[in-house]
Amino acid sequence: MRNLRSFLALAVMLVLMFCLFSLASAQDQPYAGVTVRVLSFTGPQVTEPLLRRGPDFEALTGAHVEVTTVPFSDLYQSILTDQATGTNSYDAFVLAPQWLADFVTPGYFADLSGHVASDEAIQWDDIAPFFRNFIASYAGGVYSIPLDGDLHTIYYRTDVFADEGLEPPKTWEDYLTVAAALNGKDLNGDGEADYGSCIPKRRAGQGYWWVLDVAGGYLQSQGTGQGAFFDTQTMNPLVNNAGFIRALEIYDETTQYGPPDELNLELNDTRSLFLTGRCALTIDWGDIGSLSIDPDSSTVAGKVGTLLMPGSTEVVDRATGALVPCDETTCPYAIDGVNHAPLAAFGGWGGAVSAASAPEVQDAAYAFFSYMSQPAQSNVDVTMGKTGYNPYRLSQTADLAPWVAAGFTEEGAADYLGAIEASLNSPNMILDLSIPQTQRYQQVVLDTVISQFLAGEFTAEEAAQQIYDQWQEVTDEIGRDSQQEAYLASLRISRDD
């Protein structure tokens, strides 16, 4: 019997260990007052400023900010499962504006319009109108506080272009020409051949945005409200037309002027290639501007030029699907005969507050995001490469001083901010897709088919047809009418402004 007892004793010890361990993790909250549990993704980008400024905020308000990070690729699911199952382990979320449709519709997020209206410190009007609408608003309410503004521009090596006597590209044909001309040249003086164009094309990366960058100029010419993803009348995808197919062909051709393993490169890889002088051209978010002046990452400081996204001299006629030349009616916003349609790819990070949290926690969570977004904080953060925050306030693009203080040359800062401003002010800017289950349209269908196309499994026509069929299927599955309504609503946002 004694041995049975010692056997039981072992079991009891195990149970005790188990309990102690749970206790230890449960009482790990030495802070009094309100705790705001923020869910973000692992940085340093975007999360670093939250972590850095959390203690300052606590000193100011007494609210303790607890930031949890999950892998970027799992953030959407983490928010969804947490909210859908009523677990509510988090009070606030850092999220992409494209997800708002999925989270606001079921009522997961608190409407912050009241908070914003009574908050002067946030200087709401200083936030660029585009971001105020795209990041912050959905269906008439304010659900997310902008922390970052994202859009794609072209980056090129000014020194190389000057040496070779090349003009910066205005159309995608120009882009291919200069990329071909510079591919194989030594661009950084190490005696090895370098590349003309670097674009991250890895599957399950974010490669689908770059296709849309190219396609934009062909698909949308009548201003932001026209939309570039679906026909507003029928909700049929705008992909099986001559413009999208032409874009696919151009996208495929850029692979010839890039590094051999471009199909497995992620943003990180193309960025470091460009920043170490191995690429003449790249398409990227604003981060690259502030990273280029950081000697820990870059050898091309002062040699980087920034450009508005190239466009096209032909656009799609939506009735026939064929390409028609640009004139005053087909391309009312053309510049020198070229239709530009810069893509607000991704759009920028924002902060949302859980509707399930207690009111005082909601207030604290809002106050924290407001604090992060106020010019006193954000105008410094956007000039730092590691924050991953890009300009989204008018004061940030208007005032060169913080940028020069951060290490930009006057000229470089003006060029960089000029291109961003030009994109932001374009009346023909493309709104990134923001309807329920956007992830399925872009990250699943578009990303997979584009990857299959680049791997040679499909021709451009087949790829376009595949995207068309699968998008139609998703739309029908979710409900064509509700999706069309959501799509129109997402476009109307910009019309009202």
Binding site: F18, G54, T81
Partner: protein
């Protein structure tokens, strides 16, 4: 034991064969160690040292920097993300491995020493009662009441209609059924498990992770330990029974000491599995119980992988396991006798 000293090893070698053997072994050592060396040097690199092409030797090819190590380890940094996941991983890994070993070894022993003839129909009824109880809990019935109702209904059904069913299972059927649970891919079962723990209010607790890992590792423990127990001669146990010992005494005093190599080897394997598990942790853990594989994976941010951080984290993660492998090396090969039973 069948394991003999090397002096009587049948695999004796000529000098030439020895040389070739060493060459191959050294080559393979290089294959194994070079990637680990690369992790080590990468952990001292700045972003630019990674992107400027291969740099092999610190101070010769590049100036080593401690930035990644400081970012990860500095305990005074309030934004430190490392220590909590690290201790969570150690705690969850060790406790779940011990737990599955204790439970699984008992089951494995029982399957080699007792004869079971359960009726599948009764198991099915039991399972239905369990699901019913779970549903009641989900619908808001207090869990004690729900469990009691489930148990009562089961016994009523078992006594009432149990005798009608003829089909029985034997020990190898039970073993196969238990072991086959290892076939389940985590993606298949994770959504229901998530909802189960959510209903029990156990999401984001170490207990949820421990129990889940225990469940996924039990089949492995049973598989390994069953084969190990079969190699232990039963005569020793028989003589103990003649001396009046109970089954628990025999198990505790005779069988377990003889099974130490098997237990240690199985423990290590199971520990490695739960230490490194990703998919279940992704669902079940939140802010309080993030584990190391999640933290490693999380270093692939919007800007792509932070190679230096990943290197630091993987090295720190693997160090305790290497330490244990060195310490327990002599048990490992002796303890893995799966499939070795000659009947």
């Amino acid at each position: 034991m069948r394991l003999s000293k090397s002096s009587t090893s049948p695999f004796r070698l000529s000098l030439g064969a020895k040389l070739i053997s060493y060459l191959i072994l050294l080559f393979w050592t290089f294959i194994v160690l070079f990637p680990l060396y690369w992790l080590l040097v990468t952990s001292f690199k700045l972003p630019i040292d990674v992107s400027q092409g291969p740099k092999y030797v610190p101070t010769v090819d590049f100036q080593p920097s401690l930035h990644a190590w400081i970012d990860m380890l500095n305990p005074s940094d309030s934004a430190n993300i490392f220590w909590r996941p690290y201790f969570t991983t150690i705690g969850v890994g060790v406790i779940s491995a011990v737990l599955s070993l204790v439970i699984g070894a008992g089951a494995a022993y029982a399957l080699t020493r007792f004869e079971y003839r359960p009726k599948p129909a009764l198991i099915f009824i039991f399972f239905l009662c369990g699901v019913g109880a779970a549903l009641m809990i989900a619908l808001g019935v207090p869990w004690l009441v729900a469990v009691a109702v489930g148990v009562v209904v089961y016994f009523l059904l078992a006594q009432g209609i149990g005798w009608r069913f003829k089909g029985t299972m034997n020990n190898s059927d039970i073993a196969f059924w238990l072991i086959s649970q290892r076939i389940l891919p985590p993606v298949t079962v994770i959504i229901p498990i998530y909802i189960l723990f959510q209903q029990l209010g156990m999401l984001d607790t170490p207990q949820a992770l421990i129990i889940s890992y225990c469940a996924t590792n039990l089949p492995i423990v049973i598989w390994f330990m069953r084969d190990y127990f079969q190699t232990i001669p039963i005569e020793l146990e028989e003589s103990a029974f003649i001396d009046g010992a109970s089954r628990f005494q025999v198990f505790h005093r005779i069988v377990l000491p003889l099974a130490v190599p098997g237990l240690v080897a199985t423990f290590l394997i199971v520990l490695v599995f739960s230490w490194n598990e990703y998919t279940m942790a992704l669902f079940l853990s939140g802010s309080r119980t993030q584990t190391m594989p999640l933290l490693v994976s999380a270093q692939n941010a919007t800007r792509g992988p932070q190679w230096w951080n990943i290197s630091v984290l993987v090295l720190l993660m693997v160090t305790p396991l290497i330490f244990m492998a060195v310490l327990l090396e002599r048990y490992i090969a002796k303890g893995l006798l799966i499939g070795a039973v000659k009947g």
